[in-house]
Amino acid sequence: MELICPAGTPSALRDAVAAGADAIYCGFSDETNARNFPGLNFSRAEMAESIAHAHDEGALVLVAINTFARAGGFELWQRAVDDAVDAKADALIVADVGVMEYVARAHPQQRLHVSVQAAAANPDAIQFYVDRFNAKRVVLPRVLSVPEIAAIAKAVKCETEVFIFGGLCVMEEGRCSLSSYATGKSPNMDGVCSPASHIQYREENGMLVSRLGEFTINKFANGEAAAYPTLCKGRYQTSEGAGYLFEDPSSLDATTMLPELKKAGVSALKIEGRQRGRAYIERVVRTFRQALSALDQGLPVPSDALRGLSEGQSTTVGAYKKTWR
């Protein structure tokens, strides 16, 4: 299985290559990619240089052009596609049907991956992208269990890629407007979710209150670890009970699922976190490289090595092991 690592900067890309990534994914510093954070991502020149470096070291670079093109602004996405092709990207990761159609028409030789934002959760949806745009790989949503992934991998005529570590969406990716409801900024249109620019903290009766836009997302007692106020991982109340109604403030760690994912026929494993620092990326990549080597040699996979790196200090295998099904 290919190990795919995020890079928010050219130096993070070099670290990930050195730590043993098979492929790195990254994006241009504009609204064409879904981690459109200040100070992050690549200029055109940085992209070309970074891809050349990765190729010298035997690693691939996948360029994420995975937001939905703004109406009236389609040229920006077309230019991102053209420039990524010119920079010799090994694949483009795309979510928008209009952008996919452009890639297939203007650059028929370019390898195309279906972004997780494209919400391809079943074999028919995936086959649509394969048939219409010649997609070679699909990144599966984090809402599927391992048996469902195995069934999909068997049924579709393309490779499958799954997330194994980092942020965890509990809503289907690419179909969530919760962030824009509270802040006006959405993953689909702006490449951000629950953006830091709209978060405020305040002290209230000895509690730390986190707010997103005009809404309270959580309250923490003294000494309680205060997780980042991602909207779907807040604490809320209803007439029938209160608490973490959607998901606890946990992140994904599927280390223990690696043997099952391999058996399921998954082609590539993806680490989330282009917004993360170099030290984090380096450690996560190195740890997963070791875990995959152990797996290949038939040795037990170490499971606890990454504890402490996750937001809110707790991790979950997410939907992969479907206890709620």
Binding site: G98, A121, N122, V170, S180, G184, E214, I217, Y236, A319
Partner: protein
């Protein structure tokens, strides 16, 4: 009410009744549509369970009668597809729906497009159409009607509609805005049940279960695997803007209130028989939930911009 805020828009703006998103009692569901058929000034009705396939069997036996009644009363009937499909039985049900030549399907998941080939169809608000290039692609493969995603701002709506004058564009006009879909059921989670053994607890909340912040701010509404806004969308003040932008139908999404009256309010405001302010006051009486329209203005979707008050302020300033 003065004539200043009377709508100038002609009768070209139509009304669509979106599918019932909640788990209603089957007989109540059937009777709701029978009354819509007879009494509501609605042009197109989308029927079918689009949120959770576990609910589908309950309404299935009433669908033929409902479709028949709506059609015989002159409504165009469209069958909505599921929004998120992962099970084989869900896939097979949609393939069967897509194969029925006498029914128009509203596609809420791309997997249905392969089943339809390029046969004429509608596209629902859960397919991501954010720009004119994507809209053109779908239109060139059989999409005749497109209900755009609720979070799209008016500027984007205008650009997309202008690029495709032959497609009927629709936007979300009334009801709690659908914001997210998950494979996980939050009603089951709240009741400490598994999804497979959910006991259909969502039926206790036929208008969605209100979700408040820890500071008691009304925020969201839970509907099984779906999450909606707490606030009710209202675009009464934007009917002229939407018409001018090329929108040809407003989608009214069923809530637990008198939807026939809701439709009459929208129809009257479109036709200039009631002012926006009169319509808004009537709507508040029919469905006393705070209103929101922020998405249209590229603002947080939870906010409400009082377009009429803004227009009056501007008029005074001039």
């Amino acid at each position: 009410m003065g004539e200043a805020n009377q709508h100038k828009a002609g009768p070209e703006m139509k009304l669509t009744l979106g599918p019932v998103l909640y788990n209603w009692k089957p007989e109540a569901w059937r009777d709701f549509y029978f009354r819509i058929a007879e009494e509501a000034p609605i042009d197109t009705v989308v029927v079918g369970e689009i949120v959770c396939s576990k609910r589908s069997p309950f309404i299935a036996e009433h669908i033929p009668a409902v479709v028949e009644r709506l059609s015989s009363c002159g409504k165009d009937v469209v069958m909505g597809s599921l929004t998120l499909m992962s099970l084989t039985r869900e896939r097979n049900a949609m393939a069967e729906l897509a194969a029925a030549p006498e029914l128009t399907m509203e596609v809420n998941d791309l997997s249905c497009l392969g089943m339809l080939g390029d046969r004429p169809h509608a596209i629902g608000p859960f397919v991501n159409i954010y720009n004119e290039a994507t809209a053109k692609y779908f239109a060139s493969h059989g999409a005749k009607r497109i209900c755009l995603p609720p979070e799209l701002p008016l500027t984007a709506i205008r650009t997309i509609a202008a690029a495709l004058p032959d497609v009927t564009f629709e936007v979300f006009g009334f009801g709690r805005a659908p914001l997210a879909i998950s494979a996980r059921c939050y009603h089951a989670r709240l009741n400490k049940l598994s999804k497979d053994n959910c006991k259909f607890v969502c039926e206790q909340d036929p208008d969605g279960l209100a979700v408040f912040t820890l500071d008691n701010e009304p925020f969201l509404a839970m509907n099984g695997v779906q999450t909606l806004s707490y606030a009710c969308t209202s675009v009464l003040g934007e009917i002229d803007d939407l018409t001018e932008a090329g929108v040809r139908s407003l989608r009214l999404s069923p809530q637990q209130c008198d939807m026939v009256e809701v439709a009459k309010v929208y129809r009257d405001v479109i036709d200039g028989k009631r002012s926006v302010a009169e319509g808004a006051a009537a709507l508040t009486a029919i469905y006393p939930i705070p209103v929101a329209n922020g998405f249209l203005y590229a603002k947080p979707g939870s906010t409400f911009i009082n377009n009429v008050a803004e227009a009056q302020r501007t008029a005074r300033a001039l």
